[in-house]
């Protein structure tokens, strides 16, 4: 049992990120106390950049998958595709965090290191083809995200969110592990490929394992009825962290779910297809309807991210018969990354420092309430335009990325005969137009409150602009990324 070069190559993107994480801790120790934290950003960028470089190389050349560590991880097109989304979200988070984290009084060294470790966990999760690996990586990324949620320790809301997330997350992990144990009991293997071979006939034990596993995943992606933690956690976490986890955690967890379904349980597609169908319908309906009455934009976006998990699940429900549907689902995850990240980042960009009577120092507040958006178009026309773009994209109005994504999802669903699901998706999109455009109403059609306008942070603005650019680019030119998503799904499970 020797570990060879091939093993290291198979985890090379994650290695680059982990290396950067360790280096960040080291450099942070060597930096003088009040020195600029820019070197930490540079180290993080280097790691992310190296990982992105590896991913692009593998995409460009269409190389055969590399298996490593005794067949527990695979570097294939699916993992590379989703790693791109995860790395992009990480890079956007690092971009916007320099000044922003200082204002939130967060220690930069810890923050970058934990973000990078979370990213590494996510990348390895989408590479895992082994139940043990999957469980370990989910735990690694979850632990990092629990910490990130509570990283603004002085804010009670943040701590409460972290606690809630931790408790529900641990509960979900229990389900996952229990499901995996049953699957192992039914098949005698933890390798997805082995499980697929041995599970020709669905035994009750295997079905129970599969069901528990799905419940665990449903918790992690925030699907209804396992979504209760999402609004509280997303609202309580610092906004940049919310942006990061609403996209990257989802991409990683969905990646693992797709792989488990396609590579591990192909013969049981009828059973899990039915479960996913129900989850998708419930998630789309509840997520969208619950977003309507929200007065807090941040909470509305949290419910909207539940709703979007429903759209992705719609793709998975159609997946049992068609790889195109799964391609559409992961393409949707990709476009969802930028529009959701952009929307949350705009909340941070529009934030301001507020001095409370009796407080020692002014505290940082993100734009959360609808009233914080009143008259934004007058004060900051470009920010308002970018936010409008993200919201339109989330609502699925062309020519944005969200429209391209929805088009491909609904096409796949209709093609596979899931008319009811497609209809629910379309009707719920109509509902979503209402609550997304309400923010636009406030930005453009209400007068600003009497509050001094603060200049937004350049770095956050850069992240918003990048996300906006990608949202419009993926809307006008969805071709390449979509073809790659199709190709990625074709090779899974072979």
């Amino acid at each position: 049992m020797n570990i060879t070069w091939v093993d290291w190559i198979s985890i090379s993107p994650a290695l680059a990120v982990i290396g950067a994480a360790f280096l960040v801790v080291l450099v942070d120790m060597l930096l003088p106390k009040d020195a600029s934290k820019a070197p930490l950003e540079i180290v993080s960028y280097t790691g992310i950049g190296a990982a992105l470089y590896i991913c692009f190389r593998r995409l460009g050349e269409g190389m055969p998958p590399v298996r490593g560590f005794f067949g527990s991880v695979v570097l294939d097109e699916l993992s590379v595709y989703l790693s791109l989304a995860i790395l992009a979200a990480t890079a956007l988070l690092v971009t916007m965090s320099g000044e922003d984290m200082r204002r939130r009084k967060v220690h930069a060294g810890e923050f970058y290191a934990i973000v990078l470790l979370a990213a590494a966990g996510m990348i390895l999760l989408v590479q895992s083809v082994n139940l043990i690996m999957i469980f370990l990586m989910i735990e690694i990324l979850s632990l990092c995200v629990y910490v990130l949620t509570g990283i603004t320790r002085r804010q009670p809301r943040s701590g409460e969110a972290a606690m809630k997330y931790f408790v529900t997350g641990a509960f979900a992990s229990g389900f996952l592990l229990y499901g995996m144990a049953f699957l192992y009991g039914a098949t005698g293997s933890v390798q997805l490929a082995e499980i697929a071979v041995r599970l020709r006939e669905a035994t009750p034990m295997a079905l129970l394992g599969m069901g528990l596993l799905l419940v665990g995943f449903a918790f992690k992606v925030g699907a209804v009825p396992f979504h209760m933690w999402v609004p509280d956690v997303y609202e309580g976490a610092p906004t940049p962290v919310t942006a990061f986890m609403s996209v990257a955690v989802k991409a990683a967890a969905f990646g693992a779910l797709v792989r488990v379904c396609v590579a591990g349980l192909p013969a049981q597609s009828a059973q899990w297809g039915g479960m996913v169908w129900g989850l998708a319908a419930a998630t789309m309906i509840v997520g969208n309807l619950m977003a309507v009455p929200q007065r807090s934009v941040k909470r509305m976006l949290a419910y909207s991210s539940i709703a979007h998990a429903g759209y992705v699940l719609l793709g998975l429900a159609a997946l049992k018969t068609s790889h195109a549907a799964a391609g559409a689902a992961i393409f949707y995850l990709f476009v969802y990354t930028f529009m959701t990240f952009g929307a949350f980042a705009t909340l941070a960009y529009l934030g301001r420092e507020v001095s409370f009577p009796g407080a020692r120092a002014p505290e940082w507040h993100d734009a959360e309430d609808l009233f914080d958006f009143a008259g934004v178009a007058r004060r900051k026309p470009w920010t308002a335009a970018a936010m409008t773009l993200f919201l339109l994209s989330l609502a699925g109005i062309p020519p944005t990325a969200g429209f391209a994504g929805k088009f491909m999802l609904f096409r796949a669903a209709i093609q596979e005969g899931h008319y009811v699901l497609a209809l629910i998706g379309i009707l719920m999109s109509i509902v979503s137009v209402y609550y997304y455009l309400r923010v636009v109403v406030y930005m453009y059609m209400k007068d600003p409150l009497e509050e001094p306008s603060q200049k937004g942070d350049m770095a956050v603005g850069a992240a918003v602009a990048t996300a906006a650019f990608l949202t419009i680019l993926l809307g006008l030119m969805p071709g390449t990324m979509h073809e790659l998503s199709l190709r990625a799904m074709e090779h899974v499970g072979r």
Binding site: I414, V433, V441
Partner: protein, 510 residues
Amino acid sequence: MASFPYLTLITFLPAAAALLAAFARDPKGELTKWVALAVSGIVLALSLLVFAAFKADAAGMQFVENHAWIPAYHVRYHLGIDGISLAMVVLTAVLTPLAILASWNSIHDRVKEFFVSILFLETGMMGVFAAADLFLFYVFWEVMLIPMYLIIGVWGGPRRVYAAVKFIVYTIFGSLLMFGAIVYCYILSHRFGEPTFDIARLQQILPYQLGLARTAQAVLFLAFAVSFAIKVPMFPFHTWLPDAHVEAPTAGSVLLAGVLLKMGAYGFIRFAVPFFPDAAIRFTPLIIALSVIGIVYGALMALAQADIKKLIAYSSVSHLGFVMLGLFAGTASAAQGAVLQMVNHGISTGALFLLVGYLYHETHLRGVDDFGGLAKVTPRFAAIFMIVALSSAGLPGTNGFVGEFLVLLGTFQRHAFAAAVGGTGVVLGALYLLRTYRVVFFGPVSVPKHEKVRDIGALEFGYFAPLIVLIFALGVLPNIVLSRTEKPVEAYVRMLKRPGDAGRLIGVRP
């Protein structure tokens, strides 16, 4: 065909200018105004060139541009126009600069953003009429909503937010249903080789889907039809219209009535009927009934309005009822009349909204009873109002007469009763317009300060003159439009007179 990309220029020049203007440092918006006027003028010139170069006797699309866009989904950047779209493109090109002129002095807040929105709106409107690819059409159809939403919601009247939200929620409800149907059509086309979004190809394929169950056809037809009926708006989907019209600024009302409503009727001609003719034939009685109800109901509601702007809004419901009646009467003359009436309504109602906009700008009033005796104070304004009102009421010699006459004539041949009931709409139309005219312009000047209302000047004359010319030109020479729309209208009517399923089974193609 011409390799010069006329349609691309017509469609995207406004958006390009809008982007540049948005980046320019122009806090007062003076520069943007001029840019908007110049660009919409260039677009008008280009569209007139296209109008002149258009070959009336050629079948199919002209000025075609066809490039790959998203190859994985067979989505193409495919533009092209036939006679009907040509008429709509020119109408849009004429009305946009007039709307810009009408906003010249009446928009004071966020001037730059307003004209940028108008330019984006023009791109969307042109794209809807020029698209020859269903996907592309849908993109423009949706893109156009956002600037109109902002124009109503930001620069509108007191209840603007309510009106804007109602407008967009109604429209998007329809268009997302249509979106589902579009995706389904795309998948259906796969049975006949490469799947496609090409409109001409879908028009060939979809009517011959013998395997397509009647229910499925009906559902698809309804998905398209409801979306377009909301836009037209047909009774009972019209309730957003009075709100949107009343609250929108003048330019918004003009373009909303002049162009956006036509998109609904255009959608019926281009998509709903040719794609699913059998379902269209089945639903014809319903649509004719709703159209006739719309004609009479709209006219009666107009009669009851105290607000002139609301009166015109309801008169639009009535006039668009004529258009829908003509489109579904199943005769070539009725359909020709309907298409002509689409143009006429754009001109006359556009002009009416401009007139009310002017009156409101000068007096800040627009109730019928707020005025009296204005003919003495503002004779030129009164003269123009008279011409426009008569054209809207369909006086012979003006454009409105030819359209309404053709519609009623054509309808009478097949649906005499509908034509008879619809005919009362003409009478009622004359009634509400002339009654309003009498109250506003004749008699003594009711409000003392109205003695000093300014009569129209050079700027206003600049935007009324072209419309007056068009009113008489189309009244005397309707053939400049009719000759160009003849071919596509005949093709459209053939779809409504197809042999039944049995005929097609033995290979009879209409």
